[in-house]
C-alpha cells in the first residue's frame, strides 16, 4: 500500500490542508516545508508554490526565491528579477556593515561585542539561507562565550542551522554539549527544545526507540518556541509513531498513555491518540486503518517521509507479534481477518518475522495454522555449549601458535631475501596453478 501512495497522488491527500498545516510553523521551515510539499505532491503543488513564493518575498532569501520561481515558471508565474537585485544589493550592503562592525569589535577586544558581532552575522546568513556560513559564524562565537547562557545560545544556534542543513550528527553533538553545560537552572522551554532536537536527530538516524524516548519527554511548555523547526503536533506525531514502532506494551502504558505531558500533546493530534489507544487495546484493524489514513500525509512531512515505510512495517510487525504472543496455536485465516490482511500476505509477513527471529513459531502452510514453538532449553543449551567449546579450542590454539610465532619473531617482512614473500609469491602462484584441478572438482 505504501507503493501505491508513492506512485500517484494518494486519494486521501486532500485531508492535508496546506494553509492550516503551514500555519503551525514559522520562519525558514515554512518555506522548506512548502517547497517539499510542492516537490512531492502534484495535487498540492500549485497551492504550495503560491504560498511559498508569497512567503519568500517577505524574506531576503533570494537563492530560494530563484529556485521556487524556477519551479513555478511553467505555471505562468513571472520572476521578479528587479526584486532579487534590489534585495541582493541591500544584503551586500548589510553584510559589509556587519563585517565592518565585527572588525571594529575585534580591534576593541571586548569579548561580548565580538560575540554579538558574530551572532548578528550568523543571523544574517541564516536569514539569507546561507546555512554553511551561518554555521561557521555560530561556531566562531564559541571562543567569546563568557557565561553558560551564551554557550547554550550558541549550541541552539548551531542546532537550528544543522537541522536545516540536515546534518543530524552535528545536532546530536551540540545537544549533548548544551545538556552538559553547567547552568543553574535550565529554562523549561529550552530543555524541551533540546529534547525535540535530539529526538529529531535520532529519528533521522533510524533509532526509533531512542527518538521516541526523547520526544515523549518534550513538555507541552514548548509551545510555539520551536516552530521554526517543528510544531507540537509534530512532536506528538513523531513521538507517537516512533513509540509504536519500538516500545513494549508496558512502556507504551507508562511513557505515553500515563504520561500527562505527552497526553496533552496527543490531544493536538487526535488521529495519533486514537492510533495509540487502538494499538494498546489490541484493536489492530482500526489501528492499521488509521495508519493507512495518515500515510499520505506522512509522506509529505519533511522529516518523516524517508521513514514512513520503515516505521509502518515496524508497527505492523509489533502488532503481529503482540497479537500472537498469548497463543500456542492460531488459525491464520482468523488472524488475517483481525488485521484485514490477505492470508498469503500475512503468511509472508509471518515468515519474515520468524526467519529474523522475532517470533518463535512455525507455520503449517497446509492447514493455515501458526504454531508457537517452544525451543527445548536443554538441547539448545547443549548445542550452545558444544559450539562455544569448539570456538574456544579453535581460538586458543590459534593464539598459542601466534604467541609462539611472535616469540620467534616469525613475522613476514618484505625483504628480498629467501624468507621474503615478494620474490617467492610468483613461484607460489605457479605452485597453485599446478594443482588447480583439485579446486575445480
Amino acid at each position: 500500500m505504501s507503493s501505491t501512495a508513492a506512485q500517484a497522488p494518494p486519494p486521501l491527500a486532500p485531508s492535508l490542508d496546506v494553509e492550516t498545516y503551514i500555519s503551525n510553523y514559522s520562519g525558514v521551515t515554512r518555506l522548506k516545508r512548502l517547497a517539499f510539499i510542492a516537490a512531492k505532491s502534484t495535487a498540492l503543488k500549485a497551492d504550495a508554490l503560491r504560498m511559498a513564493l508569497e512567503e519568500v518575498k517577505r524574506t531576503t532569501n533570494t537563492s530560494l526565491y530563484l529556485e521556487l520561481a524556477g519551479l513555478a515558471e511553467p505555471a505562468g508565474a513571472a520572476r521578479e528579477d528587479a526584486w532579487v537585485e534590489e534585495v541582493d544589493r541591500r544584503a551586500a550592503h548589510t553584510l559589509e556593515k556587519l563585517e565592518a562592525g565585527l572588525a571594529a569589535h575585534k580591534s576593541s577586544l571586548v569579548k561580548e561585542s565580538i560575540r554579538m558581532g558574530h551572532t548578528d552575522l550568523a543571523e544574517f546568513y541564516f536569514e539569507r539561507g546561507d546555512f554553511q556560513n551561518a554555521f561557521k559564524c555560530f561556531v566562531r562565537t564559541r571562543d567569546y562565550c563568557t557565561t553558560a547562557k551564551h554557550v547554550i545560545a550558541m549550541c541552539l544556534g548551531v542546532i537550528r542551522v544543522s537541522i536545516h542543513m540536515e546534518n543530524f550528527t552535528n545536532v546530536s553533538a551540540y545537544v549533548g554539549k548544551a545538556e552538559t553545560t553547567p547552568a543553574e537552572s535550565l529554562d523549561a522551554i529550552l530543555v524541551a527544545q533540546l529534547k525535540a532536537a535530539a529526538g529529531l536527530a535520532q529519528l533521522e538516524a533510524k533509532n526509533y526507540g531512542l527518538a521516541a524516548r526523547k520526544f515523549v519527554e518534550v513538555s507541552p511548555e514548548l509551545g510555539s518556541a520551536f516552530n521554526d523547526v517543528l510544531s507540537l503536533q509534530d512532536v506528538a506525531l513523531y513521538g507517537g509513531l516512533c513509540a509504536l514502532a519500538s516500545f513494549s506494551r508496558d512502556e507504551l502504558k507508562s511513557k505515553l498513555i500515563d504520561n500527562g505531558g505527552f497526553r496533552t500533546l496527543l490531544e493536538l493530534f487526535p488521529d495519533v491518540r486514537e492510533l495509540i489507544n487502538d494499538f494498546y487495546h489490541s484493536k489492530y484493524a482500526s489501528c492499521l486503518q488509521y495508519l493507512r489514513k495518515l500515510e499520505p500525509d506522512l509522506l509529505l512531512d519533511i522529516h518523516l517521509h524517508d521513514h514512513v515505510d520503515g516505521i509502518i512495517k515496524a508497527i505492523q510487525s509489533r502488532a503481529i507479534i503482540q497479537y500472537f504472543s498469548p497463543y500456542v496455536r492460531i488459525n491464520m485465516i482468523q488472524m488475517a481477518a483481525a488485521f484485514q490482511f490477505e492470508v498469503n500476505e500475512l503468511e509472508r509477513n509471518l515468515a519474515s518475522l520468524i526467519s529474523s527471529g522475532q517470533i518463535e513459531a512455525r507455520i503449517d502452510s497446509h492447514h493455515k495454522v501458526l504454531y508457537a514453538r517452544h525451543d527445548d532449553q536443554r538441547s539448545a543449551t547443549f548445542r550452545k555449549v558444544l559450539s562455544m567449546g569448539e570456538d574456544y579450542m579453535r581460538d586458543t590454539k590459534a593464539l598459542l601458535l601466534r604467541i609462539n610465532l611472535m616469540r620467534h619473531d616469525f613475522i613476514l617482512k618484505g625483504n628480498a631475501d629467501t624468507l621474503g614473500p615478494s620474490k617467492s609469491s610468483r613461484q607460489d602462484r605457479q605452485d597453485h596453478a599446478s594443482f588447480s584441478e583439485n579446486m575445480s572438482l
Partner: protein, 431 residues
C-alpha cells in the same frame, strides 16, 4: 671403489654409534664434502653399503652432495635417486637427522622436486612423511617438510595421505633445529586447507585458511591473500556467512580484501547473503574469468548448491508444512529440483522431513537429537578433556612468559611507548 671414498665409508661405519663420535664424524664429513663431490659418479656404490638406521648421518651427507647434481630430466637418474632417498628416509635415525637439519631438508626438497618432475608425487609422500616426523623435535613442531608433504598429497590427489600430519597439533617453532620459515608455515596451512576442501571438511579448511591469513606480517602476501579468498568461499558454503576474521589480522590484508581487487568475492557473497540464487548465478557468470584465474571457480560453483540447501534449510525453521510448489518458489528452484533437494537433504540427515506425495506437501519435523545418549556423554567428556589439556598448555605458556627474559625487561623498563611485540602478547593473553 677407490681409496679416499673407502676411507670415508670406514669412518662413517666406525663413528656412528655414540653421540660423542657422531659430532666428530660431523666435522669429518664437513671437511670431506669436496672429496665427495669430486667422486660424484661413485657415490651410488657407496650408499648400499651403509645401513639407513645406523649410518643416517653419513647417508644424508652423501645424498646431499648428490642431490645438487641429479638431472631432473633424466628419468633413470631420478628413479635411482628416489630409491636411495626412500631407503634412507624410511629408516633414518631421528637423533642423527637432527644434527644436520639443513642438509636433511635440502635432500628432502630435492626428493619432492624429483617426484614432481617425473609426475609421480605419490611415490614421495611416505618418505617425506617419515622425514617430517624424524626432523620434528617434538610432535608439536613445524618443519618445512610438512608443507612439502601436504603439497605432494594435493598433487597426487591422495588427500587422506595427509591425515597423519594434519592430526598433529602443530604449535611449536624451532628455527635452528628445523630451518622452518614463516613462508613454510603459510604454505602448510594453505595446503592443509586445500586438502580439507578435497575431503569436503569445510569447517576444518576454514580453520587452516584462517591461520594462514591471520599470520603476523608487515607486508601483503600472496599466500595469505589466496588463503583468504578460499576461506571466504568455504565460509559461505559451510556457514552461509562472511569469514570470521580474528582482530589481529593485519590491516593490510583487511584493506586489500575490501578493495576493488576482490570485487568478484564481494559480489558473490552479497548475492549469497541475500539468499538470491539468480543474482548469485549472475555474479558467478560475470566474474568467472577472475575466479578461474584464482583457481576458485569450482569452489565458487559449489556456493550455488550450498545456497539452494541453505534456502531449504531456512524454510524448515519457518514452516511446519509447506507444499512443494511453495518450496520451489521460495527457494527459487523448479519443482523437480526442489523435490530432489528435499529428498537428498532428507536422506543425508541435513533436514528432518517427510513428503506427502498425494497432496504434494512436505512436513518438516523437529530435530530428534535429545542429547541424552551414552555417546553424547562420551563426546562431551572427550571435548572437556581436550579443553582442559589446552588450558594446561595455556597455563604453561603463561608461566614461561612470566619468566621470559624479553618480557621482563620490557615490563620493568619505564619506557611507556609500547612496542609491537609486547602489545600483541598482552592483547593475546588478555583475550
Amino acid at each position: 671403489m677407490d681409496g679416499p671414498l673407502q676411507k670415508v665409508v670406514a669412518n662413517i661405519k666406525a663413528k656412528s654409534t655414540s653421540p660423542a663420535d657422531l659430532t666428530v664424524l660431523l666435522t669429518d664429513l664437513m671437511s670431506c664434502e669436496e672429496l665427495l663431490i669430486k667422486h660424484m659418479p661413485q657415490l651410488d656404490d657407496l650408499l648400499p653399503v651403509l645401513d639407513p638406521t645406523t649410518h643416517t648421518l653419513g647417508m644424508v651427507f652423501i645424498l646431499n652432495c648428490k642431490a645438487a647434481a641429479v638431472p631432473l630430466g633424466n628419468l633413470h637418474a631420478v628413479n635411482i635417486f628416489l630409491q636411495q632417498c626412500r631407503r634412507m628416509l624410511l629408516g633414518c635415525d631421528p637423533l642423527q637427522v637432527k644434527l644436520v637439519p639443513s642438509q636433511f631438508v635440502a635432500v628432502c626438497m630435492k626428493l619432492s622436486a624429483a617426484a614432481i618432475a617425473i609426475k609421480s608425487p605419490l611415490s614421495a609422500i611416505r618418505p617425506l612423511r617419515a622425514a617430517a616426523c624424524a626432523l620434528q623435535p617434538s610432535p608439536a613442531h613445524f618443519t618445512p617438510l610438512h608443507a612439502e608433504c601436504v603439497k605432494l598429497c594435493l598433487l597426487s590427489k591422495c588427500y587422506y595421505a595427509a591425515q597423519p600430519l594434519l592430526e598433529q597439533e602443530l604449535l611449536q617453532i624451532d628455527k635452528d633445529g628445523t630451518h622452518v620459515t614463516p613462508r613454510d608455515l603459510l604454505l602448510y596451512h594453505y595446503y592443509a586447507g586445500m586438502v580439507e576442501i578435497g575431503l569436503k571438511r569445510f569447517k576444518s579448511a576454514i580453520q587452516y585458511f584462517t591461520l594462514a591469513f591471520s599470520a603476523p606480517t608487515h607486508v601483503l602476501n600472496a599466500i595469505m591473500l589466496e588463503a583468504y579468498k578460499k576461506g571466504w568461499l568455504c565460509s559461505l558454503i559451510e556457514f552461509g556467512e562472511l569469514p570470521r576474521v580474528p582482530k589481529y589480522t593485519s590491516t593490510i590484508l583487511r584493506r586489500h580484501v575490501k578493495s576493488a581487487s576482490c570485487i568478484a568475492y564481494q559480489e558473490l557473497s552479497e548475492a549469497f547473503l541475500a539468499h538470491d540464487i539468480n543474482s548469485l548465478r549472475a555474479a558467478l557468470e560475470k566474474h568467472s574469468s577472475a575466479l578461474q584465474a584464482d583457481h576458485n571457480f569450482g569452489l565458487a560453483k559449489q556456493c550455488i548448491d550450498a545456497l539452494k540447501r541453505r534456502n531449504i534449510l531456512r524454510l524448515t525453521r519457518t514452516y511446519l508444512t509447506l507444499s512443494l510448489e511453495n518450496i520451489a518458489e521460495q527457494a527459487q528452484l523448479d519443482l523437480a529440483e526442489a523435490e530432489k533437494y528435499v529428498y537428498d537433504m532428507m536422506s543425508s540427515g541435513e533436514i528432518c522431513a517427510s513428503i506427502d506425495e498425494q497432496q504434494g506437501m512436505v512436513r518438516f519435523n523437529e530435530w530428534e537429537e535429545r542429547f541424552d545418549s551414552q555417546s553424547t556423554v562420551n563426546g562431551m567428556e572427550q571435548s572437556i578433556g581436550r579443553a582442559i589439556a589446552l588450558a594446561q598448555k595455556l597455563q604453561e605458556m603463561n608461566l614461561q612468559l612470566a619468566v621470559d627474559h624479553n618480557y621482563l625487561s620490557r615490563v620493568s623498563s619505564q619506557d611507556r611507548s609500547h612496542s609491537r611485540w609486547e602489545d600483541d602478547v598482552n592483547t593475546t593473553l588478555n583475550r
